[in-house]
């Protein structure tokens, strides 16, 4: 049991940190531009595929740096030539643009790399068990993922809270016209933020690719859960996204580990009732409903605390 708890905690934190890498960009972009970027998970997928391709050409370590930068450039392009032009038509147009973009990216990726998973492997230097807890190996690569996410988290926090760039970004969040009057190029700030957010998603893709399967539908799996994270944490709140990511990572991992069901608490139903929808519900284990728990949380949060955990506004 102790083994299960330790391993589940590690797995949960890791999944949480991965979610954070993605949601941090999404939430900052949202708070700055008011756009919920539906294509955010697609940038994550692009990161994974760029990472895979560059790893084949020039090796994993250069790919780790170049692939996120490329994704960042793509992101900036989307902002500069897509979102900025649709901005004048309002948020719905922007939302639809990112929505369409998500589909377009998925199709393009499957056209180039096919729909089957690609063979994106953990680099040989990191392909060893970092340590053994009880008798389970914990792969070094997962520790590497954890370290990268923590470093990014700290860097992001320091940049936003302690540097001049962060100051301007924060100011542009709430008072874009004032920042513009002070001589800053707000358009460029937006573009850079969008680029950095996409690059972070790309980085998440590069490091998650070898660990999860890299294929053209990976964006569709992670997309919905990202929205849960940022709504749960509070739209626009970076610490909120951090807490929500970890919480959702841990909840999902621990729910899987539990075998409890109504039957195990209250005893099995009278067999004379025979098979019915009721017996199905009675015997369903927590493990089986694990994947819907985050969405259940989303619904509860929206009902009882619409601004999210650390959010500041109601919208």
């Amino acid at each position: 049991m102790a083994e299960l708890i330790v391993i589940s905690t590690l797995n949960g934190v890791l999944f949480g940190m991965l979610l954070f890498l993605l949601s941090s960009g999404l939430t900052v972009i949202f708070s700055m531009m008011g756009v919920l970027n539906f294509a955010h998970a697609s940038f994550y997928m692009l990161g994974a595929f760029f990472g895979y391709q560059l790893t084949r050409w020039i090796g994993f370590w250069p790919a780790l740096v170049i692939a996120p930068l490329l994704v960042g450039v793509v992101g900036m392009g989307v902002e500069r030539y897509g979102l900025r032009n649709t901005h004048k038509h309002g948020h719905v147009a922007e939302l639809l643009l990112t929505f369409g973009l998500a589909f377009a990216i998925e199709e393009i990726v499957s056209m180039i790399w096919g729909k089957s998973p690609v063979d994106y492997r953990v680099p040989a230097v990191l392909d060893f068990p970092a340590f053994t807890v009880f008798s389970t190996n914990y792969p070094a690569y997962k520790i590497f993922m954890l370290v990268v996410s923590v470093v990014i988290f700290i860097a992001l926090l320091v940049t936003l809270k302690r540097t001049r760039v962060g100051l301007i970004v924060q100011a542009a969040l709430t008072h874009p016209s004032m920042v513009g009057h002070l001589g800053h190029n707000v358009g460029r700030v937006f573009m850079l933020v969008f680029g950095v957010g996409s690059a972070l998603a790309g980085l998440a893709g590069v490091i998650a690719g070898p660990s999860l399967v890299t294929q053209s539908d990976m964006a569709a799996y992670l997309g919905p859960i990202l929205f849960v994270v940022i709504v749960f944490g509070g739209l626009g709140s970076l610490p909120g996204a951090f807490i929500a990511s970890l919480l959702i990572g841990l909840i999902q991992t621990f729910a899987v580990a539990l075998n409890g069901s109504l039957a195990s608490v209250f005893g099995p139903l009278d067999p004379s009732l025979g098979p019915s929808p009721l017996t199905d519900i009675w015997n369903v284990t927590i493990a089986q409903i694990a994947p819907i728990l985050p969405y259940l949380l989303l619904v509860l949060v929206l009902i009882f605390r619409p601004m999210g955990l650390l959010g500041t506004r109601e919208s």
């Binding site: 049991m1 083994e3 299960l4 391993i7 589940s8 797995n11 949960g12 999944f15 499957s110 096919g114 729909k115 089957s116 998973p117 063979d119 492997r121 068990p129 053994t132 008798s135 389970t136 190996n137 914990y138 792969p139 690569y141 997962k142 660990s211 999860l212 399967v213 294929q215 053209s216 539908d217 990976m218 569709a220 799996y221 992670l222 999902q252 991992t253 621990f254 899987v256 580990a257 493990a287 089986q288 694990a290 994947p291």
Partner: protein, 412 residues
């Protein structure tokens, strides 16, 4: 005058030829071409297109060209019904599907209803991989034919093999949460209980179908249970990801699987380093030793870039041709009648037959394990460029695969 007649006859022949060439046999391929099942659906499509080309190169079926119509069902039963209706409206009389018994059951029901309401416009459903036993038992339909051994047949063979492995003490069952996964777990529990009552089932997991992105929580649970063997019917990415997570955690157990060879599976096994610890049950393997099959494999790989993962699809298409020729018609009603009870030499050698009682095809099946290939001349085929391939560890003859059916077939 005579010249005119000759010319007219020639013209008519040409026109007639053109007309019959236009009247191609359309086969609606209803399987996932997007979403979590896309990797296997794409492989299936390539296989059927290759087989259609093969038939067409030899003059098609009774002079009719065979055309595969790909329809994406996203592994979703409702979507499949929409696609099936679309196919029927476009003049399709044969549909084929394999991935997901949830989809299979819906299609079986669809053809049964459609055919009773539209006499003269019958549609046949050729099933190449949906293996829920109920489809040829309580829910059986005259219009449905299945070329893959059903889940109970496979489990019977797997447990017969497991019976002779004394090292198996604790078994963990992990399956996808839908009709097929549930039938795998039920059959495994029942058959292991009968054949090896000393084996302890230490876990019985159902997880959401094609939705889990990281299986490490499940692997931690398997590890904690102390299992030495895992039995799973997982396919597509649910198998690849499961194995990948096992590799990361260093879980060294034996795997008894239905679909380890699917896209991504072999790569994950190689990464885990589980040499000869992963077993698969199928109706054929690339290194079967059968010359015709291996020549086919070579050409297939050269043209499609994937390995022959559906020998049953080969059987299906070739047998379709044989049945149409036997009936001397491409009318679905006559083809169905010809298929009933039909004997057929299968792809990897040996004789199979389509049982009249339930339209289940019986054929020799093989248990194979995955590992490095010692003799490259005898076993030339590896999988997904891993250098490892399948070798047969046990063959089960057609006669030993026969299970009784409860089907009460309603004939038209």
């Amino acid at each position: 005058m005579r010249k005119l007649i000759v010319a007219a006859t020639a013209a008519l022949t040409v026109l007639g030829g053109a007309a019959s060439a236009q009247e191609s046999i359309k086969i609606g391929y209803i399987d996932p071409l997007s979403g979590g099942g896309a990797s296997v659906g794409e492989g299936g499509l390539k296989t059927f297109q290759y087989l259609a080309d093969e038939l067409n190169a030899k003059g098609g079926i009774l002079g009719h060209k065979v055309e595969i119509v790909p329809l994406d069902n996203k592994t979703n039963p409702q979507e499949s019904l929409v696609q099936a209706q679309k196919a029927v409206d476009a003049g399709v009389h044969y549909i084929t599907q394999g991935n997901g018994s949830s989809v299979g059951a819906a299609l079986e029901d669809f053809v049964t209803k459609h055919n009773s309401r539209n006499p003269g416009k019958e549609v046949l459903y050729f099933n190449y991989a949906a293996v829920d036993p109920s489809m040829t038992n309580e829910k059986c339909s005259y219009w449905h034919f299945r070329w893959d051994a059903n889940s109970d047949i496979k489990m019977e063979a797997l447990t017969n093999y497991m019976k002779g492995q004394p090292s198996i003490k604790k078994v963990y069952l992990i399956n996808m949460d839908y009709s097929f996964g549930q039938s795998v777990r039920t059959a495994a529990r029942k058959m292991l209980g009968e054949k090896r009552p000393d084996i302890q089932v230490v876990g019985d997991e159902l997880h959401p179908m094609l939705k889990v992105t990281d299986f490490s929580p499940y692997i931690a649970k398997i590890k904690a249970s102390g299992a030495d063997t895992v039995v799973t019917g997982n396919w597509g990415q649910d198998f690849a990801l499961l194995l990948k997570a096992a590799a990361d955690a260093g879980l060294k157990v034996n795997w008894y699987t239905y679909y380890a060879g699917g896209a991504g599976g072999p790569t994950a096994i190689k990464q885990t380093g589980l040499e000869n610890q992963v077993f698969q049950i199928s109706e054929g393997v690339p290194n079967s030793g059968n010359k015709a099959a291996m020549d086919f494999e070579k050409d297939f790989r050269a043209k499609t870039g994937i390995s022959v993962w559906y020998p049953r699809a080969v059987n299906e298409m070739r047998m379709f041709k044989a049945a149409a020729e036997k009936a001397n018609s491409i009318d679905p009603v006559k083809v169905a009648a010809a298929l009933e009870g039909m004997k057929f030499d299968v792809f990897d050698g040996g004789e199979g037959f389509m049982r009249k009682d339930d339209h289940q095809f019986f054929q020799p099946i093989y248990i194979s394990s995955f590992g490095s290939l010692a003799d490259k001349t005898k076993e030339p085929f590896d999988e997904e460029n891993t250098g490892w391939g399948w070798h047969i560890v046990s063959k089960i003859d057609t006669a030993q695969t026969m299970l009784p059916t409860t089907c009460n077939m309603k004939r038209p």
